[in-house]
Subunit: 161 residues, 2 copies
DNA sequence: AATTTATGTCAATACTACTGACATAATTTG
DNA sequence: CAAATTATGTCAGTAGTATTGACATAAATT
């Protein structure tokens, strides 16, 4: 009985010597590749941001404001999926640094529409450049050219809605 | 002269109304897709981890110990790319929770070789399952099956060495 | 015997997030 | 119009993950 438990691995404090295998975890290699790919993908802008005293949160906020100039604070909160308390410091710093400006809504004067300044536009272009280049190069080196295979795959990785 | 500056966008505090374009940022769509894909990819294990009082750092540490049982603390630090002070709390908690155990090195008794317990193995399998399923499903739905296209692309996204 | 290595700890700091409570102004609703 | 709701913002407290710097111990190497 004791040996049966041992054989079936019932003892949860027992050491495991064998590495995880592709049998136990399908797509093991791809899980790992995605981890490292995303890590290196974000490392380039992270370095640039650090020089401005900014972090990744500033990048994301600035990105979406450049993506859709004139969006409201509420829209930005929704797309970032964070609370307004979390956004507040980041947004304040981006405004103080002159990368974003708030404009009172014309139809609804409670709204503070978010616009990038010329400086904010230039910063997001600088942050995006190494990411564009990395993807471009990876597409070329893996023989995909300007195929949409990767785009289709990544769209399928994202939760519906 | 002033109008020339305005036309060329020299005033860095000037508002920008136009969204960023694919002309300014090649691979714009793919940059965004990768952001959302990775976000959803990590959200599933994050939920499970939260139930254990763990975070993403615990996931990464536990993953690599399961990937290579018997690795040293120094090796884990290198692969995670963090400082030992950062790892210490995470590692202590994983050990206290009974997911990892340290074994004195046989050849070098200074080393504390890291092994997953049966419980630690089961946890990493549970965390990896939704990630496997997501990749599997995305490969199928994008018509890639078990092609290695994605693996090749992601390998090219990673920094050499 | 002296130095280096592997590991660990203490303290202070930073960034990004969270919850809860509250405030103000503007819009909408009854 | 008065009351309720909405959009935004702030204050306070907490958590998780990271950092740097300093120091400690035991074991291995020189």
């Amino acid at each position: 009985m004791a040996s049966k438990m041992r054989a079936s691995g019932a003892k949860s404090d027992e050491l495991v010597i064998e590495p995880i295998s592709h049998e136990e975890i399908p797509q093991l290699a791809n899980i790992e590749l995605l981890f490292f790919a995303y890590r290196d993908f974000t490392a380039d802008p992270d370095r640039i941001l650090h020089g401005f005293g900014f972090g990744r949160a500033h990048h994301r906020a600035l990105y979406f404001v450049n993506r859709r100039p004139g969006m409201t604070v509420a829209e930005l909160l929704t797309i970032l999926g964070i609370t307004k308390q979390s956004l507040s410091r980041v947004l304040r710093q981006l405004i103080e640094a002159g990368h974003i400006r708030q404009v009172e809504g014309q139809s609804d004067r409670r709204q503070r529409l978010l616009y990038p300044t010329r400086a904010g536009r230039e910063l997001i272009l600088e942050l995006s450049r190494p990411q564009s280049r990395r993807i471009d190069k990876a597409l070329r080196n893996s023989g995909l050219g300007d195929d949409l295979i990767i785009s289709r795959f990544m769209r399928e990785m994202i939760n519906p809605k």
